[in-house]
Amino acid sequence: MDNSLQYLEIGFYGSAIILILVGLYGALMKKSLIKIVIGLSIIDAGLHLLMISIGYIKNGTAPIFSGEDFVVAGNMVDPVVQALVLTAIVIGFGVTAVALSLVIRLYRHHGTLKIDEIKNLKW
């Protein structure tokens, strides 16, 4: 069991950081508003992965004391980050929904999604 997961462990931080960077690139460079929102949600995904991997403990188990096989608390992974990520995911969903409704409004008003053409206010 240990060996099969060992190779995966190396990549967690790396993939989280790459996700953050890819999302940032999307949010900063893309022209389409929806792409920007997608970039934001990718940043969120990377952050959540980063947080969870910080809380991981090798050979740990989930912080649930299940009835049939009572597990000792010693080798449980960190429950706090999990609770934080739970909160963060729900909040991120709320923000995404609001952002997309704003995108719809902007499209109604301007008839385009390109950020270059929406500049009544100076960007």
Binding site: Y56, P63, I64
Partner: protein, 232 residues
């Protein structure tokens, strides 16, 4: 040119992040006397809740959850206010034409099962993975399936908003009931019961069930609002 600059900046930022985080070793515990061990010890002894994540979300950091529920509530309100149109008819068709008979029959059969799954997830939030948010989301997704499959399926807006408000009010009221006997906000005032039983954990499962109802109603409302949004 701008692209190159941004890419370079991003690379620098990524290097910085990587340099910071790779020193935080993966897979070991980084601190000795954090709050984690207290939580793990007291979730069984103090609250008799099996799922530590649930006990943290609902009891130790219950205030966060209140805020989080509020965020969803605000998001639903914000959607309503941003997309508001004066001549808004709720009788408007949600989808253009009904889906095929197979999908209709299938979703009819699956709908009760999905709702039951959602209810199961939030009732057992303190025993197994899951809880109010997840259960509420599953319920909302079940409604989404029905809304997609049928052309004339309607969810009453008033009922949704009543369920949502009642769940929220009860949540805060349960919090305020914690003041009974000189306690604090959101304090557990019920007997905690035996670990692993369904009726255990004092107010934790009750609050999570309320959260489930609230999130389910809110997200269904969000889906409904968005589905009705159409250029005329």
């Amino acid at each position: 040119m701008k692209k190159v600059i941004v890419l370079l900046l991003l690379a620098a930022f990524g290097y910085y992040l990587a340099a910071t985080f790779f020193y935080i070793d993966f897979g070991i515990s980084h601190f000795t006397n954090g709050v984690r061990d207290y939580y793990l010890a007291h979730t069984v002894n103090g609250l008799s809740v099996a799922n530590t994540v649930t006990s943290i979300v609902v009891s130790f950091r219950g205030f966060d959850t209140l805020g989080e529920v509020t965020v969803l509530f605000l998001a639903a309100s914000a959607l309503g206010s941003i997309l508001y149109k004066r001549r808004h008819k709720y009788e408007e068709r949600v989808v253009l034409f009904p889906s095929s008979r197979i999908v209709q029959a299938g979703s009819k059969l699956l709908f009760p099962a999905i709702i039951l799954l959602g209810v199961y997830v939030f009732i057992h939030g303190h025993l197994s993975p899951g809880g109010g948010f997840q259960g509420g989301t599953i319920i909302a997704t079940g409604f989404l399936l029905m809304l997609l499959a049928y052309q004339d399926y309607h969810v009453s807006h008033n009922i949704l908003s009543i369920v949502e408000s009642m769940a929220g009010i009860l949540f805060v009221t349960f919090g305020l009931l914690g003041f009974i006997g000189g306690g604090t906000f959101l304090e557990n005032f019920l007997p905690v019961g035996e670990l692993g039983d369904l009726f255990s954990g004092g107010v934790v499962p009750i609050i999570y069930i309320l959260v489930g109802f609230k999130v389910g109603a809110e997200l269904t409302g969000v889906i409904y609002t968005v589905l009705n949004e159409k250029d005329i």
